[in-house]
């Protein structure tokens, strides 16, 4: 069963279309990376999934319900710009937010303590949040989205502000949440997280969906690149078979690095063979498979992520 089904959803604010006819589904227990440049419509889409904003047209089904408000107890949400009640302790804050999701107060506090201990914050469980570091406070807020054991977890930029060790810990946490059966949606600007974690990625640009599928499928939409390094310039590689575009990066002592973007399905061997046949001074070559970042740039038409 799909945990989430977004069907032809559009959201307009007056003459401005924030989200334009977006559709996708997400299976239960899957991890979805929500990618797109600033202003792509990610936040508006998330708000529609949460039921905070009603779509102008289209339909959102969350955990089998047309009205997300009916399943709000099964959803955990972490907003992008975040904070917590500064005077509360982590146990109190997590317990309170869990209690809003239907968890009895003592049970909420027990789960809060358990989560804090498991995530290395046991010593800070009863200290005011204002005395915690930014990273610790952020972890507390992430944990507050999980204490009620939600079936759907939506995390908006969960990795921002965390140091590499905590980013790794969060990746592990997301994997364990999904392994426990919950469906996870997270938005990120760091493609490596999406590559490592996601079963499915959804790319948006200017309010429209530009890609929906697996990470591998996304990558395949970007060209493979043949990297050639040597004492020659890009003009020397013009006309190589299967090469769509050449980009030169000047190096030292006249040694340049040329990126030759291959057309889809073009074998790299032919281009490489022809390059050697031209008698070029090739000192190094490498076939680079596309990364999600490349796919992102291709699919969104560039722009900041």
């Amino acid at each position: 069963m799909d945990a989430l089904a977004v069907e032809g959803v559009t959201k307009r604010y007056g003459a401005f279309t924030a989200v334009d006819d977006v559709s996708f589904t997400l299976g239960a227990g899957k991890i979805l990376g929500f990618l797109g440049p600033n202003g792509a419509g990610k936040t508006t889409t998330v708000r529609m999934i949460l039921g905070l904003v009603a779509p102008t047209s289209g339909r959102v089904r969350v955990l089998g319900e047309d009205d997300p408000a009916r399943v709000r107890d099964q959803i955990g949400f972490l907003p992008e710009e975040r904070g917590l009640y500064r005077r509360m302790t982590p146990v109190q804050a997590i317990g309170f937010l869990a209690s809003l999701k239907g968890v009895a107060a003592p049970e909420g506090r027990r789960r809060a303590r358990e989560l804090l201990v498991a995530n290395g914050l046991g010593d800070f469980a009863d200290k005011p949040i204002k005395s915690l570091s930014k990273g610790m406070a952020q972890k507390v807020q992430i944990l507050s989205t999980l204490a009620h054991k939600p079936e759907l977890v939506i995390l908006d930029e969960p990795f921002s502000g965390l140091d590499p060790a905590n980013q790794q810990a969060l990746e592990d946490l997301i994997r364990s949440v999904a392994a426990g059966g919950a469906t996870v949606i997270f938005s990120t600007h760091v493609m490596q997280h999406a590559e490592r974690l996601c079963d499915q990625v959804l790319l948006m640009a200017r309010g429209r969906k530009v890609f929906d599928g697996t990470v591998e499928a996304a990558k395949s939409s970007a060209p493979r690149t043949l990297l050639l390094e040597g004492r020659f310039d890009a003009h020397a590689l013009e006309g190589l078979p299967g090469v769509a575009e050449l980009t030169a990066t000047p190096g030292v002592d006249g040694v340049n690095l040329i990126s030759a973007a291959l057309t889809k399905g073009a074998p790299a061997q032919e281009a490489l063979r022809e390059a050697f046949a031209r008698g070029l001074d090739i000192r190094r070559f490498e076939l680079r498979e596309p990364q999600l970042h490349d796919a992102f740039l291709v699919l969104t038409g560039g722009g900041d992520s």
Partner: protein, 422 residues
């Protein structure tokens, strides 16, 4: 409802854990106690002034003045001492001798603090009152009153009139009213007006205190974006209701504490007054009357403040919006005081139909037991407007909470009542 109560509980606990709450709780009783205790403490610490009476009239006025200044069985207002260097032949001689003594820096228990030189002036007398303390006027008034009475009595006697005859000529006036319980107006008959004014003022205080709390609470959650988490966890009415209830509980706790102290003090000094005051609330369903307007008034203003708070991101924005409301609130404050003495004034009766003023005006008019149709009508208008306000506020609160940036007047008005249609 469960979520509403959770939010209310968090709101309540968040406030009572702050030092500001305990300061609010304790400072008013301490301040009021200081108002009572401070003058007594000053009186106790100030030595009783020493005064000399120089009577140059030959009418033996020293006796009545000394009696007025130190009546038997009461604390003396002054210690009457013989005039140093007296008797004097003239007021000039008395002044020449006593004035330097009033300048001298002698110890407080032996020095002269004041002198009354009483001299004839035609058929009357003149008093030259000399004192070290030019600010306090009580001593001078006691002396002049005593001399006036003594001179008046002496004149009446000279005319063959017994002063008691004159006193007997003053009429005894008794006040009656059909609204008084026993016909004759007593203190307890005036208590409803006092209670009404007090309830109105109390509501004003609760509204003003609650306004700041509600604005700050919503603003804090909006700035930290916790509001988005709350919106994904509870409905807008639950969030607004929880906050309003939580802050009401905070102000209720403070008021209960203050009123308990005040009630305790009244009970110690005058148990009968406390019983009469309790009677005011229990008679004619006044308790329900006050609850009706108190609830309606608080709900009306609290909803407004919570909604406005959702559009503010800084305390400066909140203060800017709060300013005009404070000005509006001064109107009922002014008219309530008038209402205590003229509760049936046509202006007050008209203002009672203006929803923003209704709870205050009707509280102040409680003493006159307004007719049922007025109570029902004004309450219906007040609750109707509050209902409309809530209907408008729910979508506005959500729009404000999800918006970012400075307060946007256009967004505020555009969002009022705009249900989610997309």
């Amino acid at each position: 409802m469960r979520r509403l109560l959770r939010i209310a509980r968090r709101e309540y606990l968040a406030y009572i854990r702050t030092p500001g709450f305990w300061l609010s709780l304790l400072l008013l009783p301490v301040g009021l106690s200081m108002i009572v205790i401070a003058p007594m403490a000053v009186d106790h610490a100030t030595p009783i002034p020493r005064i000399a009476i120089v009577d140059l009239t030959g009418q033996h006025l020293e006796g009545p003045v000394a009696y007025a200044l130190a009546p038997p069985g009461a604390p003396p207002a002054a210690i009457v001492v013989p005039a140093p260097g007296g008797p004097f032949a003239s007021s000039a001689a008395a002044r020449a001798h006593l004035e330097p003594l009033l300048r001298s820096a002698a110890p407080e228990n032996v020095r002269l603090d004041a002198a009354a030189i009483i001299r004839p002036q035609g058929a009357s007398v003149t008093v030259d009152f000399w004192t070290r303390n030019v600010v306090a006027g009580g001593l001078e008034q006691t002396v002049s009153g005593a001399i006036a009475d003594a001179v008046k009595n002496a004149r009446l006697k000279a005319m063959g009139v017994d002063p008691k005859t004159l006193d007997a000529m003053s009429p005894t006036v008794s006040l009656y009213s059909p609204k008084a319980a026993a016909g004759k107006v007593e203190l307890k008959d005036r208590l409803p007006a006092v209670a009404g004014l007090a309830m109105g003022m109390l509501l004003l205080m609760v509204v003003l205190t609650g306004a700041g709390m509600l604005l700050n609470s919503v603003m804090e959650e909006k700035t930290s974006r916790i509001i988005e988490v709350l919106l994904s966890s509870a409905s807008v009415p639950e969030i607004m209701g929880g906050k309003i209830l939580g802050v009401a509980a905070v102000t209720g706790t403070i008021l209960f504490f203050w009123m308990s102290i005040a009630g305790g003090l009244v009970a110690v000094r005058s148990p009968q007054t406390l019983a009469d005051l309790a009677g005011v609330f229990l008679q004619h369903g006044h308790w329900a009357y006050f609850i009706l307007y108190f609830t309606g008034g608080y709900l009306m203003f609290a909803t407004l403040y919570v909604t406005v708070g959702a559009f503010c991101e800084t305390s400066r924005e909140a203060q800017t919006l709060l300013g005009p409301m404070m000005i509006v609130m001064t109107v009922p404050a002014m008219f309530m005081i008038q209402g205590a003495s003229h509760p049936d004034s046509p202006l007050l009766r008209t203002l009672a139909w203006v929803p923003l003023f209704t709870p205050f005006m009707m509280a102040a008019r409680a003493a006159t037991d307004p007719p049922l149709w007025e109570i029902a009508g004004t309450a219906a208008v007040m609750f109707g407007v509050t209902g409309l306000e809530l209907w408008l506020a729910v979508p506005a609160f959500k729009a404000g909470a999800l918006a970012t940036g400075r307060f946007d007047v256009r967004l505020f008005f555009a969002s009022l009542g705009r249900r989610q249609k997309g």
